[in-house]
């Protein structure tokens, strides 16, 4: 490496020549309003460090100044607000943000500015703001909690700000299937990918970084005589040429979910498709959520270096040793000018050597171990660096950044070193999160003083640093072997290949969790400001299990989920309570491995695309008629058809109802469920699912039917027509169509598999129009001509027929929801549009009026017909006045349990009609009934109003309701109590049929 020192003044800490950045492409960006430049290939963190920016954020509770700790997704400190306006994005880790031209970032949780943060006074109250302090106070006086204390606590909480505008970017979800999924493209993952790819298996290789290579990019390793990055490029080229291999960069596998019997698992991964760009290009999402179904998995997610807990260990300038190497080697950035190393592992020494190679003055290497491999100390000697073995950094000092450290030497002597950068290595924690999402527990390894994979999901192999194998050689060897094994396991022949040559490295570690003599605050969880004292307080107060410790102190609950903190906290707790770390166990790690934007989980399913929209084949026509549509489940249905100049809905509906009742109207009823039921036992089958008899229904006739659930309550109602001896056509309510279909399939396949019955939904096949009103028959005569005789004699009430009409098969049913002389005409849906236009033109001379479901609703209430408001899952047939329909001649679903005392109780509420005693009064659904004079209380509740409508025919509001012993109370005046809406109305209990109670119109 060319160690010629800082390059230009704008980037004082940028080394010349070094790193994997593109110096031909400078990029300008802003941080807290100030302009800087970096290069393509930088992260925001590396560019800030290059520019000499050390203070980047404030901590959660004490507003302590914080800098950049790591170079990866585990970063707890360097959280910024990225972008602006509707794209504003809180808590973004500067260490994973790829620099792009024009990037805007701001520090968070500070006011008025990062350097001068008023919130830092919290530090003064730190002695009070210990773990869980709020549980102990703010209780008096009680009123102040809501008014003062809580609002203050809430305002103080939180880090960044969310935008209040809708996210303008798009997101996408996709599925991927593979034989082998490889998570992590460090040396272990790359080796695994090579051996699987060469077998011909379908491979997906994911890495969360934008460069493949893992640690190879941050180190000065050589493989087969070339540098790590060069080797990576060779491997990448081979993988890219392999047709069955897919490489997903910028893709974090964040969750493991259940799979199937064949050994598959479902993985969730987030691909940051456009986050490295100012805005996503046309037709590209911001992010894509992958659901990857893999037969076998190789987990090669590496390890995370852990900090050491000592006083002031959160000062900007204190960094992870491996991160320092990454900044130097990968980004060509030195984090400071005067550095020291504090380590308990051999691995940490690399940082000292790399810093020295980069020309940074190294004040000292402080190794907590008394005995260190001679090769290391010799190398240090060669570099003329002071080495303290058996020594510890007890405190780090400085105001807004590190200025000085206190070191306790082996002999106990304290000395001070003036430095601006302290690289810390407390050893490495294998990245085992993804092994544990399905409930497996990691296992403690004394050898590396960390948790390693324990029970892993079936079909998953863990390799390299993730498995606790810390040397490059082992990573490559284990990766290749696991890749080959996975290929074989999925039915491919693995190809043996030569093991690459690498020099071995030293990996010894002796853990040092916490430096005991620190004078200043020593942080365990940086983001949540959990200190060593907080852990001790938790121990003292009995929160000594790791889970209680976590919840009491919030250790490990920050955005990094304890990646840099949990184990240190547990180790401190273990020491305090004289237990071994494995005895304490560890907290559960849960998806997502790193935080994932909510919108990514939703993909395209937002706004109008939240749920699909179902349109009837008459939709275009209705649209043309100016219909107003409303949602009815997934369907859109015409609510009403405003005439020119009409704005008031009541006027519209009144007109529509009157037009139907005095002339003729047409309504699209295609959304009702239609189920074709055939077979030798079709009749017997219907007898078992309906409460009434259908086997006795003559061919060419329709009958109303009611279905119960097995618990005796009403499931659905509708009509069934007998089209042929062994064929019925059942109709269901729009809302329950799918539910009824499933219910019937269950009856057919599970309850009575011996019956010969076939059922299929034909809802979509048929467009169906209700033609209702005194002129309906005349209209149909004109419309259908000779196709069918619709005279009352030939086609009486409840008749049905299938016939050929204008070249299509049509069906006609003489049924009526409106209570008028009415028919429903069905044609294959592709002719639905033509049919409604034909109906309209045939009806022109009769003044045909299209009507929507509001008018239909008003008419059905006038007729006392029940719908979803009454069939709400808590009513019995008897409640609805349909008890007599329950056949005594047969068994049917729900019959037995409907007999239970609670359902057969005479005191249950029964369906009645109501009308206001004052005819001008308006009724509201949801009002509760009270006996006149009774005190308002839930105990006096007599039932409620289920449906109301203004009756155009009667000229006042009417309603249906369920009233206790309602059928015995006709004529009684009661109170419809609706304090929440409209107040109370005196109503008279009447029969539920308001209009044409004899049904003369139907039959006419």
């Amino acid at each position: 490496m060319n160690a010629s020192g800082p390059q230009e003044s704008a980037q004082p800490n940028r080394l010349a020549g070094a790193g994997l950045i593109d110096r031909i492409r400078p990029l300008s960006f802003q941080f807290d309003g100030k302009r800087y430049t970096g290069f393509d290939g930088d992260t925001l963190a590396s560019a800030l460090l290059a520019a000499g920016v050390r203070l980047v954020g404030r901590s959660f509770k004490y507003h302590r100044p914080r800098g950049i700790l790591t170079a990866g997704s585990e970063e707890p400190n360097a959280l910024v607000e990225l972008r602006s306006g509707s794209r504003r994005e809180a808590n973004t880790r500067a260490t994973v943000v790829e620099l792009f031209e024009g990037l805007e970032a701001r520090s968070q949780n500070r006011w008025p500015s990062l350097a001068l943060d008023v919130g830092a006074v919290n530090s003064l109250f730190a002695p009070i703001f210990v773990a869980g302090f709020y549980y102990k106070t703010f209780m008096w006086p009680a009123v102040l909690w809501e008014k003062l204390y809580e609002p203050v606590i809430r305002r103080a909480a939180g880090l960044g700000r969310a935008s209040t505008e809708a996210d303008p970017d798009t997101y996408e979800k996709a599925y991927a299937f593979c034989d082998v999924l490889i998570i992590g493209a460090g040396p272990a993952g790359l080796a695994a990918a090579l051996s699987t790819a060469r077998s011909g298996a379908r491979v997906i290789l994911c890495d969360e970084d934008f460069l493949l290579g893992g640690r190879l990019n941050g180190e000065r390793y050589e493989i087969d005589g070339v540098s790590g990055p060069a080797w990576t490029r060779q491997v990448e080229a081979e993988l890219r040429a392999s047709p069955e291999t897919r490489i997903l960069r910028r893709t974090t596998v964040f969750g493991v979910y259940d799979g199937g019997m064949s050994g598959t698992h479902t993985f969730a991964a987030l691909q940051r498709v456009s986050d490295h760009l100012a805005i996503p290009p046309a037709h590209q999402p911001r992010q894509r959520l992958w659901r990857i179904i893999a037969q076998r998995t190789v987990l090669a997610a590496g390890a995370l270096e852990r900090p050491i807990v000592f006083g002031g260990n959160d000062r900007p300038g204190v960094m992870m040793a491996s991160a320092v190497r990454t900044y130097v080697n990968r980004f060509g950035v030195i984090p400071g000018r005067h550095a020291a190393l504090f380590t308990t592992s051999d691995d940490g020494w690399k940082t000292a050597f790399d810093l020295a190679a980069a020309g940074v003055r190294l004040a000292a290497i402080i190794d907590a171990r008394s005995v260190v491999a001679p090769v290391l100390t010799e190398e240090a000697k060669r570099l003329d660096t002071r080495v303290f073995c058996g020594a510890q950094v007890v405190d780090a000092h400085g105001s807004r950044a590190l200025e000085r450290i206190t070191v306790r030497e082996d002999a106990g002597r304290l000395s001070q070193l003036q430095i601006d950068t302290l690289a810390v290595s407390g050893g490495w924690n294998p990245n085992v999160a993804l092994c544990t999402h399905l409930g497996g527990r990691p296992r403690w390894s004394d050898a590396i003083a960390a948790f390693v994979p324990g029970d892993v999901p079936r079909g998953m192999a863990v390799v390299g640093a993730a498995a606790g194998s810390f040397s490059l050689k082992d990573a490559l060897r284990e990766g290749a072997a696991a890749g080959a094994a996975a290929a074989e396991a999925t039915g491919f022949k693995s190809v043996k290949h030569r093991e690459p040559r690498v020099t071995d490295e030293l990996t010894a570690v002796v853990p040092l969790w916490c430096v005991s003599e620190s004078k200043t605050k020593a942080f365990v969880d940086f983001q949540h400001d959990v200190t060593r004292e907080d852990v001790a307080l938790a121990a003292r107060e009995g929160f000594s299990s790791v889970e209680l410790l976590k919840r009491y102190t919030t250790l490990g609950m920050a955005t990094d989920q304890g990646k840099t903190s949990s184990l240190n906290g547990h180790a401190i707790m273990a020491a305090l309570t004289e237990r071994a770390i494995p005895e304490l166990g560890t907290t559960t790690s849960r998806p997502p491995y790193t935080p994932v934007a909510l919108a990514a989980f939703a993909g395209v399913h937002r706004g109008k695309h939240f749920k699909p929209t179902r349109l009837t084949s008459g939709h275009a026509w209705a649209e043309g008629r100016g219909a107003t549509f409303m949602e009815s489940g997934e369907w859109l249905r015409a609510q009403w058809f405003a005439a020119p100049g009409e704005t008031d809905w009541l006027t519209i509906i009144t007109r529509e109802v009157r037009a139907v009742r005095s002339g003729v109207g047409v309504c699209d009823v295609s959304t009702l469920g239609k189920i074709d039921i055939q077979g030798e036992d079709a009749a017997a089958f219907l007898d078992r699912v309906y409460i009434n008899l259908f086997s006795t229904l003559p061919i060419g006739k329709v009958r109303y039917g009611l279905m119960l659930r097995e618990d005796g309550l009403v499931l659905d109602d509708g009509t069934s027509a007998r089209l042929a001896p062994q064929q019925y056509l059942m109709s269901t309510t729009t809302a329950n169509a799918a539910k009824v279909m499933r219910h019937l399939e269950h009856a057919r396949q599970v309850l009575w598999p011996e019956l010969d019955v076939q059922i299929v939904s034909v809802t979509e096949q048929w467009a169906q129009y209700a033609i209702a009103g005194p002129n309906a028959r005349r209209l149909l005569e004109r419309l259908l001509g000779d196709a069918i005789d619709v005279s009352n004699a030939a086609f009486p009430y409840l008749a049905c027929a299938e016939f050929s009409w204008r070249g299509v098969t049509a069906r006609l049913f003489r049924i009526s929801f409106s209570g008028e002389l009415a028919y429903e005409l069905a044609v294959p849906a592709r002719y639905g549009d033509a049919a409604i236009r034909a109906i309209m033109s045939a009806g022109e001379d009769f003044g045909i009026t299209p009507y929507g479901i509001e008018a239909l609703g008003a008419m059905r209430i006038e007729k006392g017909h029940v719908t979803g408001n009454e069939l709400n899952g808590t009513t019995t047939a008897a409640d609805l006045g349909l008890g007599r329909m329950m056949s005594k001649k047969k068994d049917f679903i729900g019959r037995v349990l409907a007999r239970r005392a609670g359902l057969a109780d005479a005191n249950r509420a029964a369906l009645v009609g109501i009308k206001p005693t004052d005819k001008s009064a308006r009724l509201y659904a949801g009002a509760h009934f009270l006996t006149l004079g009774a005190e308002v209380s839930l105990q006096n509740d007599q039932g409620y109003v289920t449906s109301v409508a203004f009756s155009p025919m009667l000229g006042h509001w009417i309603g249906l309701g369920l009233l206790v012993r309602g059928q015995e109370r006709l004529g009684e005046r009661i109170r419809a109590h609706s304090p929440i809406r409209g107040g109370d109305v005196d109503v008279e209990v009447v029969a539920s049929v308001f209009f044409d109670p004899e049904g003369a119109r139907l039959q006419s």
């Binding site: 809180a90 709020y134 003292r540 009995g542 009491y552 937002r606």
Partner: protein
């Protein structure tokens, strides 16, 4: 640093230091060294008057009220893990009393009243926060259903308001009012509803109960029952056998498993419910909001995380974790309702095992076995019930008769058909 206190304090028999700002400040001066355990982590004695199985909110509240209201303090709460490790420690913390049915509403309103005085009762700040619960509606039929519910609430003296779309917009301008597939028509608001800090509720009850002499015994799993002449007289545990005059079961998601140890089969299924928390952000959502056209509800914790959830995963499970389709479903609801939080990141997801009853309402009753009492069937809504559940279960255990507000929670109601089915979905727990 002070040594870990462990069990020794129990033997010493100490009085808990009162929680107050004065003591907090005083302790601050001496490095908080004098705080003792928040509750005594007791070792089991051989016998108690009452043994409560389950150290969740309900079990601990029951013990507290047994001691406080009924003077029965020779009580042990047995917890198989650490207290609050069940649903008490993993729920979305919503408290409300916006119930429809006369069998439910007075109970939940009683619970709300107890919440409103909880901190003073327990000398523990459980951060009860009455910032309102708003249930949105998206159709006239849904509005009418809410009107019915709101009227029922008002009839019992519970606060309820029916808002129109404009009023909702004023409260929550960042909801999707323009391009929504299912437009927001309004909402049912209970201003007294809100959230409480779930863990603090557990710890507060534990501390208060412990202070009155109740033994809180962790890592003590009940593995069997001791029977004598058809009566249950004690339990076998992983820490030995313990005899008891009466035994109350409050094990939530483990109800069927523990009942099975007593040979009981109950109208309960265990289902997993997931919950989610986002990274902490500055105050964004004032209260609790539920989406009426999908499965999604959300609030914001005192720490700043958006806490949200949706439907059950829908299959029997004891795994305490769920699957991806539900995660997607919940987040689709979130984006349909409030697209402004699209870039807010989900930090963590987890699952809890619900004791789903066959009508969606709870059971507080005796069992057919003398000596064994049941508190179960809380479904996904039992956190809000914690105080009243403890109150009423203590009443039943102490007096052998149901408390007035819990009279409907009988175990035989499924057989008799006196169901308490707020949603009308019938004997299908995954749909409640």
């Amino acid at each position: 640093m002070a040594r870990y206190a462990g069990d020794s304090t129990a033997r010493l028999g100490f009085a808990l230091m009162r929680y107050s700002i004065f003591n907090l400040v005083r302790q601050a001066l001496s490095g908080h060294r004098a705080w003792g355990p928040a509750w005594r982590d007791a070792a089991p004695k051989s016998a108690y008057d009452v043994v409560i199985i389950g150290g969740g909110g309900h079990g601990l509240a029951t013990a507290h009220y047994l001691a406080k209201i009924h003077g029965i303090s020779n009580v042990a709460v047995l917890e198989k893990g650490w207290i609050g490790s069940g649903n008490a420690g993993r729920n979305t913390t919503i408290i409300r009393s916006n119930y429809l049915l006369a069998g439910n509403n007075p109970f939940y309103e009683w619970s709300m009243k107890l919440w409103e005085g909880l901190e003073q009762d327990l000398n523990y700040n459980a951060m009860v926060s009455q910032r309102g619960v708003l249930n949105l509606y998206h159709s006239d039929a849904q509005r009418d259903t809410y009107a019915r519910r709101g009227n029922a609430m008002r009839m019992h003296g519970v606060d309820a308001e029916l808002l129109d779309a404009e009023a909702v917009r004023r409260m929550l301008p960042f909801l999707d009012f323009n391009g929504a597939r299912f437009p927001i028509h309004g909402g049912l608001l209970q201003r007294r509803g809100g959230t409480a800090r779930h863990d603090a509720v557990v710890w507060g009850y534990a501390r208060a109960a412990s202070d009155r002499g109740v033994d809180i015994i962790q890592n003590c799993e009940v593995t069997g029952f001791i029977r004598e002449a058809g009566t249950i007289v004690g339990v076998e545990t992983t820490r030995g056998s313990i005899r008891a005059g009466k035994i109350g079961m409050a094990v939530a998601g483990s109800t069927s498993r523990v009942a099975e140890l007593a040979g009981l089969k109950l109208p309960i299924e265990s289902h997993v419910l997931q919950a989610f928390v986002s990274e902490a952000i500055k105050p964004f959502i004032p209260g609790v909001v539920t989406f009426g056209a999908g499965h999604f509800y959300i609030s914001q914790s005192d720490k700043g995380g958006l806490v949200f959830g949706g439907d059950l995963d829908g299959y029997n499970s004891y795994a305490q974790r769920g699957n991806l389709p539900t995660v997607e479903d919940v987040c689709e609801g979130a984006m349909a309702l409030m697209p402004a939080i699209g870039r807010v990141r989900v930090l963590r997801s987890w699952g809890g095992v619900m004791d789903m009853s066959m009508d969606g309402s709870p059971i507080i009753d005796r069992t057919v076995i003398a000596g064994l009492y049941l508190n179960a069937g809380w479904c996904y809504g039992g956190f809000k019930a914690t105080p009243a559940s403890g109150w009423c279960f203590a009443h039943l255990l102490a007096r052998d008769e149901p408390h007035a507000v819990a009279r409907a929670y009988r175990l035989d109601r499924f057989a008799t058909g006196h169901l308490l089915d707020e949603r009308g979905v019938g004997a299908q727990p995954n749909l409640h």
